[in-house]
């Protein structure tokens, strides 16, 4: 018997607000435990939550990006359960009336296969704190810095059928959140977390099988591995005629397996009810329109505009790895008449290597986009060779200086906009008239001879590629 895998995903994305969802406390990651904890975050008696408007705006932006319904009224509810790092004994979340519902995200599975993923809902909620089990042998520590951090929980319908689809969706969603500037996307720090609901059913069957929920998946690799394990486990049980229990399971990366965390019958009755400390969120259409106007460009739109620049899918994927990359690319493009392809090659090659070496990113570019634009202009215009451009780039990495000055310093008299080179080429062609005629009649190999002569004349201080290109042109013209 063969089965179809059915997967639904719940992503918790930490919103990049300055302060928490219901208090003015900062949300910086990695601060000293409890140093970013207000009386509100700690759930002291008598304090009250006040909603952070920035988080609401972010949820609306996300809703707009996935063409979802944005509800003019949504409600915060309390999810009640006891846990040491849940200070109030309840989490403020949205349950029956989420702020965003019924959206879609188109994903590209490669090989021209496209898929539309249905997003059931996206709602706002506060994060819990953290229990620190490894700071003492006898006690558990509680760090409430994370408590109250705004989360957007994004829930798909059970519409995914393979780990490839899952990872593809997650990468697209991750990219979207990054480009909307809603989430820093850092999976290791828990800014982008994913729970996977998986079930199997015999092919052709309509009703869904019993599902299990996988947690503790903090990398795309783990998600793939956990899913592979879990699908196999389900398959084995089903083929054996054994029941599948509805339960929550944790992925253990060390053992590469999933283990029961809790069974359904042991789950909390969360006793959701509307939080009486908070009014319903009312969203007026003017605000939605304003947010629509100020939306940053979405990855899909950027992609189609890049396609017009005749860039390959690979190049576009590279430029879309983060908003900072495409921003840098665009900045260079604005100030340079170099071919887009040349710019991408430089970013992917020389620049990326330099960033890697210095452990930097395009968010803190060591060489300004305008500077790189100037350099690439010189290259595009054959003023300098590729070799020299790289040397100047290396220099700029350590010290920012004027490019014309650097060209002089590095001992290469500028080619005077190519005129000096042209004069030399002209002289060489005149000297070797018969070889020139042979070349013109089809002996292409003679080009190398001419390049060699010119290089000799120029004492090697010029890029052979530039020389050969110019030679090709002038041999034909003269």
């Amino acid at each position: 018997m063969s089965f179809q895998t059915v997967i639904g995903l719940e992503v918790h994305a930490q919103l990049k607000t300055q302060s928490k969802l219901f208090s003015g406390t900062a949300t910086t990651y990695g601060a000293k435990p409890n140093s970013q904890t207000s009386f509100i975050d700690a759930g002291l008696p008598g304090v009250l939550p006040v909603l952070n408007e920035a988080a609401v705006k972010m949820a609306i932006q996300f809703g707009l990006a996935i063409k979802a319904r944005i509800h003019d009224q949504s409600i915060f509810e309390r999810k009640n359960y006891f846990y040491p790092d849940l200070p109030k004994g309840y989490q403020i979340s949205q349950f029956q009336h989420p702020i965003v519902s019924d959206g879609q995200l188109k994903i590209d599975l490669g090989d021209g296969q496209l898929k539309t993923v249905d997003i059931l809902r996206a709602h706002l909620e506060e994060d819990a704190g953290k229990s620190l089990h490894d700071i003492s042998n006898t006690h558990t520590g509680i760090d409430l810095n994370r408590a109250g951090t705004p989360l957007l929980e994004i829930v798909t319908t059970p519409c995914l059928h393979s780990s490839k689809e899952v990872v593809c969706y997650l990468k697209s969603l991750h990219q979207l959140l990054l480009f909307l500037n809603l989430c820093d996307g850092n999976m290791q720090e828990g800014s982008f977390r994913c729970d996977v609901n998986v079930s199997l059913r015999p092919i052709g069957q309509q009703t869904l099988g019993t599902r299990t929920e996988l947690k503790n998946l903090n990398s795309f690799k783990f998600i793939e591995k956990a899913l592979a394990y879990e699908v196999q486990r389900h398959t084995n049980l089903l083929l054996d005629g054994q029941p599948i229990h509805q339960e929550t399971r944790l992925y253990c990366p060390v053992k590469n397996c999933t283990e029961v965390l809790r069974r359904k019958e042991n789950e909390n009755d969360y006793r959701y009810f509307p939080d009486p400390d908070l009014l319903p969120i009312a969203i007026d259409q003017d605000m939605v329109l304003l947010l629509k106007k100020t939306m940053p460009a979405l990855p899909a739109d950027i992609r189609s505009s890049l396609e017009k620049d005749h860039l390959s899918t690979e190049d576009i994927d590279y430029l879309l790895t983060s908003p900072a990359v495409i921003q840098y690319f665009n900045d260079v493009k604005t100030h340079s008449h170099a071919e887009p392809k040349m710019i991408v090659n430089w970013l992917k090659g020389v620049y990326q290597a330099a960033l890697h070496e210095q452990q930097l990113s395009f968010e803190q570019p060591p060489i300004a986009a305008t500077k790189l634009a100037t350099l690439l202009n010189k290259l595009q215009d054959n003023v300098i060779s590729n070799h020299l451009a790289k040397r100047i780039f290396a220099h700029l990495l350590s010290k920012d200086e004027d490019i014309d000055f650097l060209i002089k310093t590095y001992g290469v008299e500028p080619l005077n906009d190519g005129k000096d080179l042209d004069a030399i080429i002209k002289k060489i062609i005149e000297t070797y008239k018969s070889q020139a005629d042979d070349y013109r009649s089809g002996k292409d190999k003679l080009l190398a001879f001419f390049v060699g002569q010119v290089m000799k004349e120029m004492k090697g201080k010029v890029d052979p590629a530039a020389v050969s290109e110019r030679l090709r042109l002038m041999l034909r013209e003269l």
Binding site: F39, A42, G43, L44, P45, G46, V47, L48, P49, V50, L51, R78, N80, F82, P84, P87, K88, G89, Y90, T140, I142, D269, R271, Y272, F273, P276, D277, L278, L279
Partner: protein, 487 residues
């Protein structure tokens, strides 16, 4: 020293007849003499005398405000950062809030002198003040009787003239019912008029801070200094606040007063029924029209209230888990034990009863039948009251079905006791302002209160009506002392 009214205190301080320090000393002495009432949980004499000295300085240099130098008390549900905030519970017996309630800040800024924090039913759950970790409070009119609750300590303190006025909180009648039992004027304003920030939550959608004082006039002066929007409370309402003092003596001619016959059932003490009818007659003679009101939903008030209040309480009180603050059991070996034992040992019986009730009505399988149904009923009650208040200016009725009962007399039957709230919970469910004023004595020494309930933000009108009544009657001027002296 004329301490008969807040106005006489203000005048005395202003004219230098006595200083705030003298006044504070006077009240502190009375507090000690009346310690058997058990009205206070915390008394801070040295802080009070310092505040009084500062008030005297302000009065001297002309920077005093209306209430500067007036000795007061806060119900121990309001967070103060200079003394503990116990909420009448073992759970918070040692809790010092690192912040103060907005109401407390307002009165501090006004220059009032805080003498201490008053006793209360644990977490404001109760209407007798017998459910306090710090013991029952006695009614100054009859020490064998309860002062009402949950603001029983505040009521006893004001009634016994231990402070000029006191704050209270009113979730289902916890200001008005003790006001009625102790011959005081008690106001529960419109939901959202006073900030809830720093007032320990019982049932958030019903909780509202209030004031216990000797007269409507005093309520107006105090309300002037504490009403207003607070950005720290999302449910507080941002709208202009009138000067409640300026309309106190407006004419009530043409006033339409609704009188629901359903408020006069046989369960209601006939002395109270008579006092309410007498008050209606007074208003009629003063030019008001009495209109019979049919409140079909009245029987649903108390059941609806207890479902919603308990549901919210069960969640609001989840934070008391012994982990970050408050009482922590020493007998726990595991995490689950730590939480359950801390709660089992830290909460009293009535609080546990309401937490369990609330947990039950929110549980899956019961949620629709109880909580959702109660919310629908609440809407019906709101609609009916709002509709009624579009035809009349105020609704008049008894505040309570009985006068102050004997301590211990109802402890075995909680549902019987819950009926003490049958006239007061409506205002909370609908978010309406309501006040209770003295309207007579039963058997010569048991105070009777009548309630006036108005439309949203009609506090000025309610205080005006109450003041007109008090200008013409003497009930509110009776105190346990002068009354005994007179009889």
């Amino acid at each position: 020293m004329d301490t008969s009214s807040l106005r006489s205190l203000i005048t005395g301080l202003k004219n230098g007849t006595f200083s705030s320090t003298e006044l504070t000393t006077h009240y502190l002495k009375r507090i000690h003499e009346a310690s058997s009432l058990n009205a206070f949980i915390t008394i801070d004499e040295s802080a009070a005398l310092l505040a009084a000295a500062a008030a005297d300085k302000a009065i001297k240099n002309g920077s005093a405000k209306t209430l500067t130098g007036i000795p007061i008390a806060h119900k121990d549900i309001f967070c103060t950062n200079t003394m503990p905030t116990t909420c009448g519970s073992k759970m918070l017996a040692d809790f010092y809030a690192p912040y103060e309630a907005t109401i407390v800040s307002h009165l501090n800024n006004e220059g009032t002198v805080l003498l201490g924090k008053t006793n209360m039913d644990e977490f404001a759950m109760g209407s007798s003040n017998e459910h306090s970790h710090f013991g029952a409070v006695k009614n100054p009119w009859d020490r064998s009787r309860v002062p009402g609750g949950s603001s029983g300590g505040s009521a006893a303190a004001v009634a016994a003239n231990l402070v000029a006025f006191a704050t209270g909180s009113d979730t289902g009648g916890s200001v008005r019912q003790p006001a009625a039992f102790c011959n005081l004027s008690g106001l529960k304003p419109t939901y959202g008029l006073l900030s809830r920030f720093g007032m320990v939550a019982y049932a958030s959608s019903l909780d509202q801070a209030g004031i216990l004082a000797h007269s409507a006039d005093c309520l107006a002066l105090v309300l002037n200094s504490i009403a207003g929007f607070d950005e720290k409370d999302s449910t507080s309402v941002n709208k202009p606040i009138p000067n409640y003092e300026t309309t106190l003596t407006d004419s009530i001619k043409g006033l339409r007063i609704g009188l629901p016959p359903c408020f006069f059932q046989k369960e209601v003490d006939e002395n109270i029924q008579k006092a309410t009818h007498d008050a209606a007659t007074f208003f009629k003679e003063a030019g008001a029209t009495i209109v019979e009101l049919d409140l079909k939903r009245h029987a649903l008030w108390a059941p609806c209230y207890y479902v919603i209040a308990c549901a919210e309480a069960s969640s609001n009180l989840s934070r008391y888990d012994g982990i970050r603050f408050g009482y922590r059991s020493k007998n726990a070996k595991t995490l689950t034990e730590l939480i359950t034992r801390s709660r089992s040992e830290g909460f009293g019986m009535e609080v546990k009863r309401r937490i369990l009730t609330g947990t039950y009505v929110l549980s899956s399988g019961y949620f629709d039948d109880y909580y959702i149904k109660a919310q629908k009923v609440r809407r019906l009650i709101q609609n009916e009251l709002e509709q009624a208040l579009s035809t009349v200016d105020v609704i008049l009725g008894p505040t309570t079905p009985t006068c102050a009962f004997k301590i211990g007399s109802t402890i075995t039957c909680p549902t019987q006791r819950y009926l003490a709230d049958i006239f007061t919970v409506g205002a909370n469910l609908a978010g309406l302002p309501a006040l209770s004023i003295p309207a007579g004595l039963k058997d010569g020494n048991l105070p009777i209160g009548i309630q006036l309930m108005g439309a949203h933000f009609s506090e000025a009108r309610l205080l005006n009506i109450a003041n007109i009544y008090q200008q013409a009657t003497q009930w509110h001027q009776l105190s346990p002392e002068n009354h005994r002296g007179a009889s």
